[in-house]
Symmetry: C2
Subunit: 213 residues, 2 copies
Amino acid sequence: MALTNTVPEPALKRLPLYLQYLRNLADKSKMNISAPVIGDDLGYDPTQVVKDLAYTGVRGKPRVGYNIYELIYTIENFLGFNKVNDAFLIGAGNLGKALLSYQDFQHFGMKIIAAFDVDNNKVGTQVNSVNILHIDKLEDLVKRLNIKIGILTTPAACAQKVAEQMHNCGIRGIWNLTPVYLKMPPEVIIQNTSMYSNVAVLLNKLNNAGVSM
Amino acid sequence: MALTNTVPEPALKRLPLYLQYLRNLADKSKMNISAPVIGDDLGYDPTQVVKDLAYTGVRGKPRVGYNIYELIYTIENFLGFNKVNDAFLIGAGNLGKALLSYQDFQHFGMKIIAAFDVDNNKVGTQVNSVNILHIDKLEDLVKRLNIKIGILTTPAACAQKVAEQMHNCGIRGIWNLTPVYLKMPPEVIIQNTSMYSNVAVLLNKLNNAGVSM
DNA sequence: TAGATTGTTAATCGATTAACAATC
DNA sequence: TAGATTGTTAATCGATTAACAATC
C-alpha cells in the first residue's frame, strides 16, 4: 500500500518518541488520550500530533481522543516494530559496546545478534550475552543467517572499507555511526547518525541564547 | 552580528561534516577545493554546498574554489570549535563511557572533563583519564568550574529528575541522549539525540526499498 | 445540547533546487 | 578569451501551522 511511502522523515522520527511515551504512561488506568495532552507532554503542536498519528492509519474519536492500547499497537505495526529484525554490529569499541548493551532495541524493531571486530583481545568475549566474533566470519554468517542490517561503529579510518565488505556480503541497510560519508551504490540504504552534528547544534543554540563561552 | 542567528538547522548539522571531510582530505598538496567536488564526495547538491559555506562568511573564487585551510579555519570559528567548552557527563553507563572515550569531541568544540554517577562501584574509577565522581558533588563542581553544558546519559527512569538537578546547579545546555522528553523551562537549551528514531528511519527505508523483513 | 477534539483543507513558513549573472 | 565556478535571486518542494467543519 502507498501509505508507508509517504511519511515525512521528521514525522517518522517522532513516531518512536510517541511510542516510548505511550508505553511509559504513568497512569495505566486511563483508556484514552488526546492529541493536545500528548503534544503538551512531548512539546509538540497538537495539530501536528493529530497529523503524525494519522499517518499510521489510527482513528481517534472527537472529544474522546485515541485508545492508548490501540495507538501503541498501530504505531508498532506501522513502524514494523512488531517484528524484530536481526542485525550485526561491526566494530566492538566503546560505542559498539554501548549499543550492544541497549536492551531496548528489541522493543524498537531490531536485535543485535552478533558483533564483529579485528581485535583478537575482543574476539571470543561477550557483551550483554552477544558474542564478539572475528570479522573474517562476517560473510559466512551474513549469508547463513540472511542478515540485512549492519551497524557500523568502527574507527573512521576503516569505515568505508568495512562498509563495502558489508555490502558485498549481502547487507542491505547500514546504520552508520561513524562521522564518515560512505560512498555506496544507491541500492544500499544508509542511515547516518553524527554525534558531532548534535554538538554543533547545541553549541550554536547556546551561543545564540547569549551563554558566554 | 545577525549572521549566526539565521543558519538553518539542517545546514548547521552539515557544517561539522564538511569540517571532518576537509580535515581528512587525503591530498594535502592541493590548496583549493570547489563546491562540486565537495558535493560529489559528500553526496550533496553543489549549490547546497555553496549556500552552506556562505553561511560561515567564507568567500570562494570563481573557477578556483575555496582555499582549504581558510575554509577549515572559517568553519571552526563559525561553529565555535576554536574554543573548547568544558562539559560534564551524568550517567556513566555504557553509552556514557562510550562518549567519554570519544577523543574527538575536543576537535568539535567540547571536552568532557568529569563524569558523575550514583553507582559506588563506578565512583572513583576513570574512563579515558576522566574521573567518575559521585553525583552529590555535581552542584559544587558545576558552580566552581562554571560549567554550562551537561550530557545526560542516565537510565530513562531518572532522566527528568537528573535534568532538573542539572538546571538547578546552573547548567544551561543539556545534550539529552535518553529517549525521554525533558520538561524544562524555556531558558534551558535541550538537544535531543534519539537512537530509536534512527532505527525507525532505517527500517522504514528498508521496507520501502522492498527488503523483505 | 454544548463543547472539546478529531480530521481535513488552506495558508504559511522554511529549505532545497534551479536559473543565471558575475567573475576569475 | 573561454569556460568553470561562485554568488544571488527566483522557483519549487515539503513540512508545519492555522482555520474550520464534522462529530462524538
